[in-house]
């Protein structure tokens, strides 16, 4: 199944009953899938909105009314949605936002890229808030993390972002959908008519500074809790590694291919793959640095997650960087060349032709 469709199917199975979106490559298949399949569900509503801004505000509304809701877009469209995401964070409304990143800044291009890391993990919109950001790297993870995203959004009453890129959206892989967990959420906030009870009110505008401060601290305590409990990562081939590549999403797939090549050359290289980008798996990475002293961050950007790795390692290990921004997806061969050239040398004398397989160019090695 194609990545975009996997997200759609997983969302519907997880109980998503409201989707609003506006077309943009490379995530159109998701909108198309929701258009076709949401109407077949019990009470599902699909809206092709007049703009990205309208879409995010529609899901905020549907969420306030108690529906599991989702919107999706790609980089430029996600920028437009930031005001709405900030508002949802302020009002503590759950919701899932999918970003299939493409080359930027500006309109950029439609090729896969990872340039929206800062925007996604730093909140993106204005104000003192965070969004949970999950970065899938396989078709199976697209399905599992989409279901998890809805659960996390409900659990913490906060918007959750799925951060993937054009390649994840377009690629097809076999997927097994797991049985979704039954929905658990505090219904107390849902606006569905007061009946005989007290009237309810959801708002993001709090004019009193002291009251706003208290709200900010309440959100901050929630974000701290999330940072402690919801970090996720994958550690691959790192037991005996001399050097570890840190990469997420598509870049991590390229890195795994590169590691296979590097291992066949005798270079001990592993992978650290953050799955939750916010909260960043700081603790796990720091633990890894107790016995590994060389890290290379690999991103399809000019270096954004690099900052989080630096913050996590705090100078306790060497950090190198390699990136290809703009929609270029490097091959595993390219990455393995870069890594092999920067691999830590232990002995004073190393015969490079023995140690490293040099890829032959047109004019010899």
């Amino acid at each position: 199944m194609q990545g975009n469709c996997v997200i759609g199917e997983a969302a519907i199975r997880a109980g998503c009953r409201f989707y609003a979106g506006y077309p943009i490559t490379p995530q159109n298949e998701l909108t198309e899938y929701m258009a076709e399949h949401l109407r077949k569900t019990d009470g599902g509503v699909f809206i092709q909105s007049e703009s990205e801004i309208a879409a995010i505000n529609m899901i905020a509304g549907a969420s306030a009314a108690g529906a599991r809701s989702m919107t999706s877009s790609s980089s430029p469209g996600i920028s437009l949605k930031q005001e709405g995401i900030s508002s949802m964070a302020a009002c503590e409304l759950p919701g899932v936002i999918v970003n299939m990143m493409r080359g930027g800044p500006g309109l950029g291009n439609i090729r896969p890229s990872q340039g929206d890391y800062f925007q996604a993990t730093r909140g993106g919109g204005h104000g003192d808030y965070r969004t949970i950001v999950l970065a899938p790297a396989t078709g199976q993870e697209l399905a599992d993390l989409t279901m998890d995203a809805f659960d996390l959004a409900d659990k913490y009453r906060t918007p959750v972002m799925i951060l993937a890129d054009g390649m994840m959206g377009q690629m097809m892989e076999p997927v097994v959908f797991r049985k979704p967990k039954p929905r658990q959420y505090p219904e107390c906030y849902v606006l569905k008519g007061a009946g005989n009870g007290k009237s309810k009110f959801i708002r993001g505008l709090i004019l009193d500074a002291i009251e706003m401060e208290e709200h900010n601290w309440k959100l901050a305590r929630k974000y701290n809790l999330i940072s402690q409990k919801e970090t996720r990562c994958e550690i691959h081939e790192a037991k005996d590694a001399e050097m570890v590549i840190v990469a997420y999403g598509t870049a991590a797939r390229v890195a795994k291919g590169a590691i296979r090549r590097l291992r066949s050359m005798g270079l001990k290289v592993g992978l650290f793959r953050p799955i939750s980008l916010w909260p960043f798996p700081t603790r796990e990475l720091r633990e890894l640095s107790e016995h590994i002293k060389h890290f290379i961050v690999f991103e399809m950007s000019t270096g954004q997650m690099l900052d989080d790795v630096r913050l996590a390692l705090q100078g306790f290990a060497n950090i190198d960087f390699f990136g290809r921004p703009g929609g270029v997806v490097p091959t595993p061969a390219e990455l393995s060349n870069v890594v092999s050239r920067r691999y830590p040398q232990k002995d004073a004398y190393v015969d490079r032709f023995l140690r490293f397989k040099v890829v032959e160019g047109p004019f010899g090695p």
Partner: protein
């Protein structure tokens, strides 16, 4: 085992369908598989290509640095991809419209006039299926029956005669390379 294949040609030649049907067949066989299309603002007559990675362990990278097999349906694809092919790799080319031949000496290639062959079996639009027959004859990645079943599944039942006509086209390609030895570059 871990095998990577790139299919490339004009949009409209059914290049993505070749890759998709192979990926589906591989999935039905029980392989791990990824299908990665080169997407973009592309159209009929433009270029299209896709990469299929399959194997009996998890696919690390869906991108092919050095594909093991290469199927080119037009001349620009031959020029673009022939140097990417791994040493000892196999190249299949659409001899109906490609006059050039690969120059590399470390690969094997098969020239299949798939457009003419498709016309012979009465289905000129099935040149890609002819090529798939030839491809599976020499690579043997999955059994022809599994492939044809997958092809039938993904083509749906637009026309009742479609599976039969595809089977004929496939067989033509499969038999064509039965007793042919591959060439190498000169």
């Amino acid at each position: 085992m871990n095998v990577k294949t790139i299919f490339s040609g004009f949009g409209g030649q059914g290049v993505l369908m070749m890759g998709y049907s192979l990926a589906h067949g591989a999935m039905m066989h029980g392989f791990h598989v990824t299908y990665l299309p080169a997407y973009g603002a592309e159209m009929r007559g433009g270029t299209a290509n896709c990469t299929i990675s399959l194997g009996d362990e998890e696919i690390a990278s869906p991108i092919a640095s050095e594909p093991d097999y290469l199927v080119v349906m037009n001349a620009p694809s031959l020029y673009t991809f022939q140097n990417r092919l791994a040493k000892g790799g196999i190249l299949f080319l659409n001899a109906s419209i490609i006059e050039a031949r690969p120059t590399r000496k470390d690969i094997t290639f098969y020239a299949v006039p798939c457009a003419e062959m498709a016309e012979e079996v009465g289905n000129p639009r099935a040149a890609n299926v002819v090529m798939m027959g030839a491809f599976l004859q020499k690579t043997g990645i999955i059994r022809p029956e599994i492939y044809l079943k997958s092809l039938e599944t993904i083509m749906g039942s637009k026309k009742k005669t479609m599976p039969e006509s595809n089977r004929k086209a496939f067989d033509a390609g499969f038999r064509f390379l039965e007793s042919v030895n591959g060439g190498t570059g000169r």
